[in-house]
Amino acid sequence: MRKLRWATIAAAGMLVIAVILWSAAPISAAGPGARIAVILAIVSGVACLVQLVVATATLAESSGFDSPLERLARGLVTSIRALPWPELLIIAVLALEALHRSRPWHTAVLGVALLGLLLSVHLAETGAAVGVLRRQVPVIAAGIGLTALAVGASALPGLPSGPASSVVRVIAALAAVVACALAVPTWLSRDR
C-alpha cells in the first residue's frame, strides 16, 4: 500500500511539472503578470507535493523548549497542511494559460493534464488504488470528448471574428457542457 502511495505521489509530481511547463511555455509570449503566475504555480506545486508527502507523517510532541529551527519546521508543516495548495495550483496554471494568446488545442491538453493531476492527488491522499476510478471512466471519457468539442468549436474558421462572435462561442460551449453534464449521468445510471 505504501509503494502504491509513493507511485501515485510520483505520478502527481510529474503531472505538476508537466502542467506548469505546458502552461508557461513560451514565457516570452505571455502577457504581463506571467512571471508572478509562474512563481505562484511553482510555489503551490511544490507545496502540493510536500503536502502529499507529509500527510501521513506524525509530528513529534513539542517538549515546550523547542529550538527556533524546530519551531520553524513545525510551523511550516502546519501551514503546508492547512492551505489548499492544489486549488491554488489550478488557478495559477489557468491564469498563466489565459495570459497567452488563444491556442485552443494547447488549452485542451492542459485541461486533460489538470484532470489527471487532480485524480492522482486524490489517489495519493486517500491511499486508494487506481481501481476505484474504474466506474468514473465513462464520465471522464465523456468530459474529455466535450473538451474536444469545445476546442473544435472555438477553432472553427467560418465564424466572423469580433466580440459578439466570441460571446456566442462561449455561450454555445457552456450550453453544450451543461447539457451533457445533465444528460450523461442520467444515461449512465439508467441500468441501476
Partner: protein
Amino acid sequence: MTWSLSAHARRLLTLALAGLVIAVIAGRPAFAGIAAPAVLLLAAWRVDRPGSVAVRTSLTEPRLAENLESTVRAELRGHGDFSAELVIDPADAITAGQSVILPAGARGGPVYLPFTPTRWGRRPVGMLAVTLRDRFRLTEGRVLAHLPTIDCRPHPAQMDRSVVLSRLPSRLGEHTARAVGEGAEFAGVREFVPGDRQRRINWPATTRHGALHLSTFSAERTQNLVVIADATTDVGEPGASTLDLVLRGASGAIRRYLAGRDRVGLIIYASSLSWIGPGQGQRHFQRLIDLLVSSPGGWERTAQLARLPRAALPPGALVLVFSPLLDPRLVESLRDLRERGFSVLVIDVLNAEPAHEGGRLSALTSRVWRMEQQAIRFSLTQIGVPVVHWDGVSSLDEPLAPYARRVMVVHR
C-alpha cells in the same frame, strides 16, 4: 455522522469555476472545454446517503505489554453503497497501523486495525475514524468512535538469576538454605542417632568409620522479597526515563522471583505510599502489575514518607529498591530500613543529568550536582546498602552479578 464535500470535489469545483470564469472573462471557449470533465463528474453527485451507520469496536487483548502490537476489532454496518476507510486516530503514546478500506457494499466479518502502545500505563487507544465515500468520491461522511482503554504493562527487564539471602525464613520453598533439612541438596554426613530415617544411611561412610552414619541435606526455603519502586521523579529521555526504567526493572524482578516460588511484595514510593504485602501466584502477579501501572506517581513536598509501613515489610525480607535516588526522603527511608535490619539492595536507574549551557558557572553547578549524587551513593554503601547502576538496556543480571553469584550475607 457529519457529511461534507470531499477535498476531491472541492478541487473539481475549483477547476470548473475557474475554467468557466476565464472562458467568460477572456472570451475563450476552450476554457469552457477545460471545465467540462469536472462539471460532468460533479453532476454525478448523489443525494441519497446512509442516515446512520453502526460501528462496534473491541480490543482483541485489553492487557498487553509496551511495544507489543495488538489490534482493534471493528465491525461496520449500514454503509451501503459507500466505501469505508477505517483508521485509528491514536492517543498519546500509541502508534497506529495501516488503515483498512472496506469496498462499497462489503458485508460480513470484522476488520482488524493494528496499533502499538509505546509506553506503559492505563491509557485510551484513541478514536476510530470511519470515512465513507461515494463511488465518485465527491461526498465524505465522517464518524468518530471512542476506542476502549488498555492496560499496558511495562516491558519487564530481563532477569535470569536472583539474589538470595543467607538467612531465609522457615517456609518451604526452592532456595537451598544453610540449615539442614529435607531438601535434595547434599549437605554432609553425621553419626546416626535413634529416630533417624534408615533410608538416609550413608553406607560408604558407615563402613569407613565402623559406625552408622547418614547423609544430611540442606533445607529448601522460600524467600520474602519486597520491591520498592521509586515513582517520585521522572527524568530523562521519554521512553527511557527513570520512571520507565524503575517500572521495567521492578516488573522484571517481580516476574523472576514469583517464577521462583518466592513471596513478593511491592511498595510504590510516590506522593503517597501504595503497597501490597508479599504473596505468591499468578493472581498476585497481576495485582502487583496492576498497582505498578495504575500508580499516579508524582512528588509532594509535604508527604510523610520517611518510614515505610511495617506490614509491607516482613522480617528478614530482601528489599530491592529501583530508584534514581533523587528524593532525599527515600534515602532517609533506606537508612531507616537498614537500621531496622533489612537487607537492602539499590538498583540506581539514573542515566540523565541536568543540561548545562556550557558556561563556566553552569559546568561548576553540574560538577557539584554529580559530586552530591556520588556522595549519596557512597553514604549508602558505607552503611551496608549496596548500590548498583543499571542502564536500562542490558539485562538486570549484569549489575546484580556480584550478588547473584553467591548468597548475599545478611548483616544485622
